[in-house]
Amino acid sequence: MIERSKVTKIKKSLGATLLKLYFQDNLIDEIEKVPIKRNPKNKDSLRCCIYKDRAMSRYRLMALMGIDIENEDNEFNSLSDFTQMALKREKPDNDKPISIVDMSCISCQQHKYVISDICKACEARPCETNCPKNSISILNGKSIINYDTCISCGKCYNVCPYKAVIHSPIPCEEVCPVDAIYRDEKTGKEVIDYSKCIFCGKCIQACPFGTIVERSQMLYIAKQIKTKNKQKPIIAMLAPSIIGQFPGTVQQVITALKQIGFDYVYEVAYGADITAQHEAQEIIERSNDKQFLMGTSCCPAYIEAVRKHVKTFEKYISKAKTPMAYTAEFAKQKFPDCKTVFIGPCVAKKFEGFHNNYVDYVLTFEELSSFFLAFNIEITELKETSYDTIQTTKEAQHFCVSGGVANTVKYYSNKINPLVKINSYLINGLGKKGFRELKNTAKGKLPYNLIECMSCEGGCLSGPGVNVPSKISIRKLN
């Protein structure tokens, strides 16, 4: 994850521009000018020239309107053509929440290890003697790597006393835990293999060029808000990780949401309580079995990882639905014609939401920021409103941090049957290490019976769609 990245800032304000134009009723007429206004002639360019910056703004706007760039991009279409196309839609047309803008993929350094000019072709030549593939030779007083045989093991990097070997990873590939993103040999650009992708969003956070974009549902939601009527309320469902994402209190954020046009605001911790109760019940039932093991069920990226890569763990996953699912179900029971909008820090929830009949839309905190900016809402000046759901437990409100889910399951199982001993193991982040841990636990031989797995290190507070660094938000939680 890139700390203090400018990319998210650019996306938020672009989203705000888009929404402002939409609510002023001149999106179709004005959208063509947005990339030019944002990258005027006299401005310094971020890429090679302002024209490329403008092209990138265009693609970002397409992603914000929910266009599937990989499949729907057509350079003959104007932005307003795409706007009309997007406005005709009610919902995303497929479950893929991520797209790659290949024009922006600058084809990172082709080789992971490069020998720099610092190299003095010394007498010891440890790079040469330690290379397992004999790929290093000396030419014109400098070591060179023969990339036909190099396997990028990094030995030369580790042994060079001058630190003359540079390690330059491809950021998106480096963070992908399941090797779902790779370079297309023909074009030199990155491609996602969706049969492997678990939608964790790590590549989005990692790319320094913001090339991997989320397909937003903000325009569909804006359309619902603009055309709503009393019979069909719009319900915002706020994930526990809302804490600290905006200035002021959560109760002020609720008021802000109502000012935008949401009719009710539900707390997803309400569903988290139900999830934990079900999981507690289930683990107690399973405890009759001597070697029982249960995996939590609320993180959608981890569930996808299990389905696509660790099949052997699938039988351990709890049957409980996710907090989002229970909350949405509750909303639809109360108001059958309502539209439900889950608001959280998660990209994978967009995938989960697409496949859940009770969830209509999924929005990230980052995208919600665009709404607040577009509506010019000063959150700290608002009065406080409470949730339209019942009081939740403190435990459920901590679902968004590593250990929070396991803790809530323990809390409830202790209430139901204190005799069942629960030893939990936390997989804190599905990086390459966490992924190995998951495979290990699938063997079912470890002395634990509850596995809590979260794809983002630290929990949802470090998700790809958060507004603030988790070290700030976690303070507000405690």
Binding site: T380, N467, P469
Partner: protein, 83 residues
């Protein structure tokens, strides 16, 4: 006394200012005796078209695109110059 005002209106907070909450922690107790840190809600500058939030004021000087580390070093500079 160095007067620091941090804007934590919606735009400033959302566009990178949230981290400024932790500004105090970057100074020693001794140093803090010479700094007053206030948090303000929106001062209105961000409403301009070319605004660059987040905003911080140090002794009435405006800093746009304020980043935590840059503000810390700015204040440290002022502290050192005083001595």
């Amino acid at each position: 006394m160095i007067k620091v005002k941090i804007c934590l209106g919606t735009a400033c907070y959302i566009l990178g200012g949230a981290e400024l909450i932790s500004l105090k922690e970057h100074f020693t107790k001794e140093e803090l005796k010479n700094i007053s840190i206030e948090v303000e809600t929106c001062i209105g500058i961000c409403k301009n078209e070319n605004a660059k939030p987040p905003y911080v004021f140090i002794n009435n000087e405006i800093f746009e695109n304020a980043e935590l580390l840059m503000i810390v070093s700015e204040i440290k500079n002022l502290l050192n110059n005083k001595e």
